[in-house]
């Protein structure tokens, strides 16, 4: 039997904790695990693990920059930069200078709240999305400068999340319009286009899509929604196409009946387990159903952690490192760190 065991409960934020992000360069070769969290208290906190105790402590508070809720945070692949998206309509870029974080750039342009920010795998592109229904793509220039190379219109409502594919420069966006849109550069000079829409007509969600996550090889994706379902999608094997065009995504299965309220977050681990965080205060883990008969369910519930938090869970993220832990962020103002154990 598997169990999700609480390692630590982290306090410090004075309002909802909306999102958290692990620094991808930590957790290896004796480097302590580090993550950032962001909150309705307008701050970002940096948490670092003490290697001897195995517990996290807050090592920095990034404040007095954003004037409203910080909704999302994302580390660059190099781990040197942290991007934060805020309801103040800006995205701030922070650089880690000897343990101190300095705001080195502020990206403006969105008409209202910025909901999410995401780096591509190479760290050369940054995407942001907003309630203004648009998705912006920024090119990362030398000297911590950022140039907007494309403003993508296509969603008919609030865009909740953007996420780059783990290996290809393909961007995915989730929206209040119930769809996921797939964007690719169709030319050689930043001609970004919507190449596919995963909406209700092709087995898509029937309410707001809040988040998505890829498996380790990038050929499967899981999406979560206000319609209380998780959907898994797949594409033809990524990376083996030689100079070919975009490979479309198809619906694989829908996991319904497990969640009582809105699912705000989903994250797929390198080990193949995906975690969901929901408004029923529970964390659920799902895994491949190897024993499934032909035509049977493809994924099964591994476990459900009831009352993981006192309130809605807004973000669940598996850490990097040899033995990943799971962190969760909640409306109760806390972050919890969990490990998956067997007993």
């Amino acid at each position: 039997m598997m169990e999700l065991k609480e390692i630590q409960r982290l306090e410090g934020h004075t309002d909802k904790v909306w999102s958290l992000a692990w620094n991808p360069t930590t957790g290896h070769a004796g480097i302590p695990l580090v993550f950032a969290s962001c909150s309705g208290d307008k701050t970002v906190r940096i948490w670092e693990q003490n290697l001897s105790s195995g517990l996290w402590a807050c090592t920095a508070v990034l404040d007095e920059t954003h004037t409203r809720t910080v909704r999302s945070c994302a580390w660059s692949p190099s781990g040197k930069l942290l991007a934060t998206a805020s309801f103040d309509a800006t995205t701030a870029i922070w650089e880690n200078v000897g343990g101190d974080f300095e705001c080195v750039s502020t990206l403006e342009g969105h008409e209202n709240e910025v909901k999410c920010v995401s780096w591509n795998a190479a760290g050369t592109l940054l995407a942001t999305c907003s309630r203004d229904k648009s998705v912006w793509i920024w090119e990362v220039l030398p000297g911590n400068e950022f140039e907007c190379v494309s403003v993508l219109q296509g969603h008919s409502q609030d865009v909740k999340m953007v996420k780059w594919h783990p290996t290809e420069d393909i961007l995915f966006s989730c929206s209040y319009d119930n769809s996921v849109k797939v964007w690719a550069d169709e030319g050689d000079s930043d001609d970004w286009q919507c190449v596919q829409t995963l909406g209700e007509p092709n087995n898509g969600h029937t309410s707001t899509v809040w988040a998505l996550s890829f498996n380790v090889s990038g050929d499967k994706m899981v999406t979560c929604s206000d319609d209380l379902t998780l959907k898994v999608w797949e594409t033809e094997s990524v990376g083996t196409q030689s100079g070919g065009g975009f490979a479309p995504w198809t619906h694989l299965c829908t996991l319904s009946g497990y969640h009582d309220r809105t699912i705000f977050s989903v994250h797929w681990s390198r080990e193949g387990i995906f975690a969901s965080g929901a408004a029923d205060n529970a964390i659920r883990l799902f895994v491949d159903d190897n024993e499934s008969q032909v035509g049977g369910p493809l994924y099964k519930l591994l476990l459900k952690k009831e009352k993981a938090h006192d309130m809605d869970i807004n973000s669940v993220q598996w850490s990097p490192g040899e033995k990943p832990v799971l962190a969760s962020a909640s409306d109760d103002g806390t972050i919890k760190v969990w490990e998956l154990t067997s007993y």
């Binding site: 909802k16 309705g40 409203r68 809720t69 909704r71 309801f87 209202n112 709240e113 909901k115 309630r131 609030d158 909740k160 209040y176 309410s207 707001t208 206000d226 309220r261 408004a279 029923d280 205060n281 009352k307 006192d310 309130m311 809605d312 409306d331 109760d332």
Partner: protein, 154 residues
């Protein structure tokens, strides 16, 4: 002579208080419903100098509490079918109730079925907590909500 009654035929008004029967399996919920209705009925309408109760936006049947599951459902009737104030009323209800319940309680707010031209769209917006949080950070909207909640002009 025999003295007669001054008014032999008085009009007796029924008591308005509901007393829950002790054998009612939902007695506790019923009491909660009523206390909660009393708590929110004096919210002022955003556009008129009357309470939501006076305008029949809210009534005793508006609120359902499931204490065991920790679920609250509030249904309200906007004064006009195309009422653009529906979202403001929803915000007022959320702010008013924010500290009334233990944090694990879940509040859903809906417009009464058939009462609004954009019912489905309004209900979706009323219950998107991220948009609610963002709206409450808008100073103009926040001021309007505070006026509805804290006005003593009724």
């Amino acid at each position: 002579m025999t003295l007669g009654l001054i008014n032999a035929n008085p009009v007796v008004h029924a008591k308005k208080e509901r007393i829950a029967r002790s054998d009612d399996p939902h007695a506790d919920d019923a009491i909660l419903d009523l206390a909660l209705t009393n708590f929110v009925r004096d919210i002022r309408d955003p556009e008129h100098p009357y309470s939501l109760e006076q305008l029949s936006v809210l009534s005793e049947e508006s609120i359902t509490v499931d204490d065991k599951l920790g679920r609250i459902l509030i249904t309200f009737t906007p004064t006009v079918q195309h009422c653009s104030m529906a979202t403001v009323i929803g915000l007022c209800l959320r702010v008013k109730l924010k500290h009334y319940f233990p944090p694990h309680f879940k509040v859903d707010i809906k417009v009464s079925p058939g009462s609004h031209a954009d019912e489905e769209s309004v209900n979706k917006q009323l219950n998107d907590k991220e948009r609610v949080a963002a709206a409450l950070e808008n100073p103009n909207l926040r001021q309007l909500v505070d006026e509805c909640l804290y006005s003593n002009e009724l």
